[in-house]
Amino acid sequence: MSDQKTPTINFKEKAMELLPEGASFEACLTCGLCSSGCPASGLENMDPRKFIRMAMLGMDEELSTTPWVWCCTQCKRCQHVCPMNIDISQLVFIARGNWPQEKKPAGIVRSCQLIRSTDSTSAMGLPPEDFVFVVDDVLKEVRETQSGFENLQAPMDKKGAHFFVNQNSREPMNEPDEMVPLWKIFDMVGADWTYSSKGWAAENFCMFSGDDDAWYQVIKTRVDAVHELDCKVWLNTECGHSYYTMWNAIAKFGMDVNFKLESLVTYYAQWIREGKLPVNSDWNVNNIKFTVQDPCMIVRKAYGDAIADDMRFVVKKLVGEENFIDMQPNRSANYCCGGGGGFLQAGMTEHRRAYGKRKFDQIAATKAAYVLTPCHNCHSQMEDIGHFYGGDYGVVHFWTLICLSLGILGENERTYLGPDLLALID
């Protein structure tokens, strides 16, 4: 641990600057809806209400140094339920950025460094040539081994393609077969898409480290990559914060872009509605129950309920309406799972699991056998708290279930299926 002193921020001044129009600290009743609805309440003896009150009381040194800012996932649920619309997450962002680099959680700092170490912008440091190699290698194997996919495509650096598709580094790095269901879906709907060897990665830990400059640089690399290929749509795949980090940065830094930002979930829904993805729930003969996790980053913090409704449309088509059980609360009011904000990489396992207890209760109350979510951090966190608290649910990607429903899920693409689902395929 470094001896470098953490500078003190004037939080009251910052808080006043950040107040949205019409919001007021004077009108804060200290009612506690923020803390009551925050899974990080109580960790490090802090909660959102206490944070704001301490800011108003000028307790800047305490706030500048509390490790709680690394437990808050900046999910904005406190703001969502606050009658005064006070955004505490922005204060947390400022506090994070204020920590000396040496004192910040090493996992987040290291991931940000790795992102900036190559043109891939990959938090796992996977360089462009390795990404190209992995995609090519997996593609060859699928073409050789999977009947019906001899001509499967995974275009790379295809200029003028409609979709510029990003990918969480976890796939090419750790589980490359998980990319294949996505390629099959694109193949089936006839999508004009491409990967890029530059700026292809989804994740952005520089945002979580509170480093504005680094955040901007990462997004600039990605924006430049989309422009270079002249794509119409930057298509965010099943990764929550990658959407927010791009979408928010473009507005925050006033970046000039000539493409649209879209989420794959929206297209899943659209392609099913158009009949291009002829999924159905006939396979679910045992009425296996599913619930869905709304990633904060694309629902509450970005699109709002519209994309949450798309997710539910897709899930119901995939598993059968009667086999879908919504978590409560849900959509924009949903709880963060505790995997966001870099918490998974912050090395605060005990706190992260305490935070995740509320998500575990939500899932347990549904009695669902599986949680579907289009977010890798949600995915990892829900798996971890499931094991930790003794849950017996699985977590699956949308692409897995879509391909399962279509009968095109390859043998190596079934990592997240439990015996109940595997039995239905074999």
Binding site: S35, P83, R331
Partner: protein
């Protein structure tokens, strides 16, 4: 990056997400009026869950036992009171429709009775109300029957003290005692009713809590708990706890942030979209544009601009807390349209010297004026616009807190406003 504006077409737009706004949406749904509702997080999360019609009349001593008779006397005592011109039949119908809707959507309520119920407050004092959630209903009955009862509270839970409840009730309910237990798996630090309620949606938590309750109940058969019995299926959670313990169990409201209000808000947010209503929660309307054939509401959320094109609008934006009224050095104004606000002549007249003065404070009767069709009046004393209607506690001439009539005003005026909208739309 270009923003895509979202447009909605609707017959009625309801502005406000308190009890009045939600009630207006319910009545509109019941009349098959297509509706959009928009409003910032309202004060609904602060409710005890009790739906008061009228608990106290200004100038009269004692609490109101029969609100139906007392509403009639408002015409003499407080002729400008928003309830004084609404028939008791309409008020009763409004309460029936409102509570029926809540029951159908998973939060059972008692129907409006002939007299007020004497209910327990979070502090163990008594108050008059008309309807209450089924999870709370056995409490007043046990009190009336003077059944032996244990009030159970929890380590780490602020805002509800069994000791306080018993201290305040000991003269009126001798067979009452209190016990403090740990909530399952939450043994350290501050715990919140919201978190407990959600944990009780899980079977294993209910089983553990049931065991803990059985231990402290001893021979007593009736248990009072703070309102934490589930968030989305409270009646089921209560029934399950009763089954597991073999005891009669009821809820008492807690101090905010409390579960009954969050239950209502989350239920509305779930159910309204399923019923075809366009709900845009957590957003304030930025401005309104009135045209001959429609009203346009301008909103902006995270994702960009939204416009709602409506044939009629109900303004149910509440008072100061919800932002319907704003207090300035120079006076009180209405936030959205700058409608004239009936208010004390001078700022120094807003409050009496003593906070607890029995006469109440003049500022608490500030609000907008409406005509007999619940159309807000403009500066010229005429309806501001034929397409604008008003409901709820933004209406002047009532001090809903002192008269224990908040839900009554919200529900009954929303009912009449929707009736007026229906007449306007379908005349």
């Amino acid at each position: 990056m270009t923003e895509e504006a979202r447009h909605f077409e609707t017959e009625l737009a309801v502005i406000g997400s308190g009890i009045a706004g939600f009630a207006a949406s319910i009545f509109a749904l019941n009349k098959n009026i297509t509706t959009a509702q928009v409003g910032n997080t309202g004060a609904v999360a602060y409710t005890t869950g009790y739906l008061d019609l009228l608990g106290k009349i200004e100038g009269e001593t004692g609490a109101v036992e029969n609100p139906w008779e007392s509403v009639k006397t408002l015409k003499n005592n407080c002729p400008n009171h928003p309830l004084s011109d609404i028939s008791t039949n309409d008020i009763e119908e409004a309460f029936i429709q409102f509570t029926t809707f809540l029951g159908e959507c998973g939060i059972a309520y008692s129907s409006p009775g002939k007299t007020n119920i004497t209910a327990l407050s979070p502090a163990g004092t008594l108050k008059k109300t008309l309807c209450l959630p089924s999870t709370m209903a056995p409490g007043p009955k046990a009190f009336a029957a003077q059944k032996p009862c244990v009030i159970v509270d929890f380590k780490g839970l602020k805002g509800f003290s069994g000791r306080q409840v018993v201290a305040n009730l000991q003269d009126k309910w001798p067979n009452l005692r209190t016990e403090r237990i740990s909530f399952p798996d939450m043994t350290s630090g501050e715990i919140y009713p919201e978190v407990m309620a959600r944990a009780l949606e899980v079977e294993q938590t209910r089983e553990k809590l049931a065991e803990a309750i059985k231990v402290v109940a001893e021979a007593v058969k009736v248990i009072g708990l703070p309102a934490v019995l589930g968030m989305h299926s409270p009646d089921f959670v209560r029934a399950e706890l009763e089954r597991l313990t073999g005891l009669e169990i009821f809820e008492i409201p807690t101090m905010p942030p409390s579960v009954p209000g969050i239950r209502l808000r989350e239920m509305f947010e779930q159910v309204f979209p399923q019923k075809g209503l366009t709900l845009i929660p957590q957003q304030k309307v930025q401005s309104l544009t009135f045209k001959d054939n429609e009203v346009v509401l301008h909103i902006r959320d995270n994702y960009g601009p939204i416009t709602i094109h409506a044939k009629a609008v109900i303004l149910a934006t509440g008072r100061f807390l919800s932002g319907g009224l704003e207090a300035h050095i120079t006076g009180i104004s209405e936030a959205l349209l700058d409608l004239p606000v009936t208010q004390p002549e001078k700022r120094e007249d807003w409050y009496l010297n003593q906070y607890t003065d029995v006469r109440g404070h003049a500022i608490h009767k500030a609000g907008i004026e409406v005509d007999s069709s619940f159309r807000p009046l403009g500066k010229d004393g005429k309806p501001y616009h034929q397409r604008l209607f008003g409901a709820g506690i933004i209406l002047a001439h009532q001090d809903w807190i002192r008269s224990r009539s908040g839900a009554g005003i919200a529900i009954a005026t929303a009912y009449k406003a929707v009736e007026a909208v229906d007449n306007f739309l379908h005349a």
